[in-house]
């Protein structure tokens, strides 16, 4: 179990770090949403199903949608 959790944390941190380096903002947003999604799995493993649902539906889905709308209205690439 602990190995799976460690793996999840490592993937989450890698996604967060890759959000720094992506020049394409869309990729960075996807990476940030991956962080949220894995965080919601971790919330579930920490016995917080309410929070996991909130994070998955708000943090991962709606925030991604809002970000993508905003990027479509502005610029996609970081210069």
């Amino acid at each position: 179990m602990i190995i799976i959790i460690s793996l999840l944390v490592i993937i989450m941190l890698t996604a967060a770090v890759s959000a720094i380096f992506f020049k394409d903002l869309l990729n960075a947003v996807i990476a940030a949403c991956m962080v949220s999604l894995i965080a919601s799995v971790l919330f579930y493993l920490l016995q917080a199903p309410d929070v996991a649902m909130a994070e998955a539906s708000i943090g991962a889905a709606l925030v991604a949608a809002i970000f993508i709308i905003a990027i479509s209205k502005t610029k996609r690439h970081e210069e």
Partner: protein, 227 residues
């Protein structure tokens, strides 16, 4: 240079936190307030989901503030985008038949799921915020799938206001009857672990569900249409 300074700053912060964490061992026994809620939550509020009883009853005032913040964000976003000059009407490509039919099929199902989530907030995981977010995502689907459809802004505003007022009025009724406390759970608690139980909790959670749903829909609508 800036990067190095910020890294040093961050390491100092982290060092402080690590120092502090020695006193917060992971997985240790829970604290007295949490223990009290678990022991007495069912009798005092009638909800089997203790998180719900904390969110809506013991710390209900926070939730009122939280709903206010979402309302504030929706209004503030409207205010920020309102003075924007609009560039004519955008060309909207009509969606394909498959997409439209799929949306039409999925939309009521998602709404129903959202409603299920917030109606059962006091029994199972979930509640007004989660259910409201799911309802908003149903409207997002309509925006993406059937693009020529628009939500009724006036109806959205009215739903939002009435749901907020229900919360406040439930609190004020608690102030006048029962124990004379704001947001006190003055209604009969009913039989534990049934749908009609735990007093004002389901009513407030339904109001929150509507409010969060309409606010998030309003946010998406404002971002898509007004800018």
């Amino acid at each position: 240079m800036k990067k190095i300074i910020s890294l040093i700053l961050l390491f100092i912060i982290c060092l402080g936190i690590v120092f502090c964490l020695q006193d917060i061992p992971f997985g240790a026994a829970k604290t007295k307030v949490g223990h009290y809620y678990i022991d007495n939550g069912r009798e005092e509020t009638g909800a089997t989901n203790i998180v719900t009883s904390v969110v809506l009853n013991y710390r209900g005032f926070d939730t009122l503030g939280e709903v206010t913040i979402l309302f504030l964000a929706a209004i503030g976003l409207g205010a920020v985008l309102a003075t924007l000059k609009k560039k004519g009407k955008r060309q909207i490509e009509p969606a394909s038949l498959i997409l439209k039919t799929g949306c039409r099929f999925l939309f009521p199902l998602i709404l129903l799921f959202g409603a299920y989530i917030f109606i059962h907030g006091h029994l199972t995981p979930g509640g007004g915020f989660q259910g409201g977010a799911i309802i908003a995502s149903a409207f997002l689907l309509v925006y993406l799938g059937c693009r020529e459809r628009k939500i009724n802004e006036v109806a959205n505003k009215i739903t939002e206001s009435i749901a907020g007022l229900v919360f406040i009025v439930m609190g004020l009724i608690g102030l006048t009857v029962g124990g004379h406390y704001f947001l006190s759970n003055f209604m009969p608690k009913g039989e534990i672990n049934t749908l009609f139980s735990s007093g004002i909790i389901p009513i407030i959670y339904i109001a929150i569900g509507f409010k969060v749903g309409s606010e998030l829909t309003g946010i998406i609508d404002n971002l898509m249409e007004k800018s």
